[in-house]
Amino acid sequence: RIIPDSVTVITDNSTHNTTWHDFARFLDIEKGSHVSGMSELKKYLNRFGYLSVLNKNFTDVFDSEMQSAVVLYQQKLGLPVTGKLDSDTISTIMSPRCGVSDKEHKIHTTKR
């Protein structure tokens, strides 16, 4: 058996980040539904520029604003636009990603 010269074995610690992994349970949830933890998905959509609300006390209801945000997300990410949390959308949301917002006018600089 040939053993490679150098193999780095790193413990699989994917369980350390469970926030987005949990979004799998929102698969096929539709507008009007109330699901515990939906507010976390709203926070995600808010963070990346899809759900803009003045009051950041997000509810667990899949409301009209949430549906609009999902449509925007699907358009921006090149997904089939269904307005639903279908498998393509949920798996894309759960994918690791860049932290820069998808909103095109996001500028983080502070002028001194």
């Binding site: 490679p4 150098s6 193999v7 780095t8 074995v9 790193i10 413990t11 699989d12 610690n13 994917s14 350390h16 980040n17 926030t19 987005w20 990346f48 358009q75 921006k76 990410l77 090149g78 894309t92 994918s95 690791p96 990603r97 860049c98 932290g99 820069v100 998808d102 095109e104 006018h105 996001k106 500028i107 983080h108 600089t109």
Partner: protein
Amino acid sequence: YSYFYGKPRWVRLSPLTLTYAFSKSNTIDYISLSDIKDVFKRSFSRWSSVIPVNFTETEEYELANIRISFYSGDHGDGQPFDGVLGVLAHSFSPENGRLHLDARETWAVDFKAVKSKVAVDLESVATHEIGHILGLAHTSVKEAVMYPSLSPRAKKVDLKVDDVEGIQELYGSNPNFKFSSLLESANSSNHG
């Protein structure tokens, strides 16, 4: 392709040369600095091959145009990292120059040597973040480098037509660049 609000870009005399440096204190220890430097050198060269911009490494971190650091959790810019997977990295629009990578990711420069299921290709993320540093925002084109998500163990380092058209609208074309070479490269990789 898309841009940040106001379409900011680095405005210097042409040909533009930007310096870059690596933080000595905020780094990772399981990949050698020389390997990290090689990865970034290749990533910068991809962008400089299509636009008239040169990138030069400097040891003077604070004075460099582009400052590259690995951070964990809250690192003072209002956008804390979240540990393994989730957010992998972020960077800032021109002419800020900060490029931050999440130190808690399992960064890989060679998937043959790193077996972790959550390993992330450093070169793919570096190439993407340099796009932000230069002024590109996220694209809807899945195959493009500037698409916002990247699966673990995936590699996406070659600039696509969408990336090239976007960046050339900001900086113009490198006189030595030919679109046909990009298409030839795409064809050969498709058939490869």
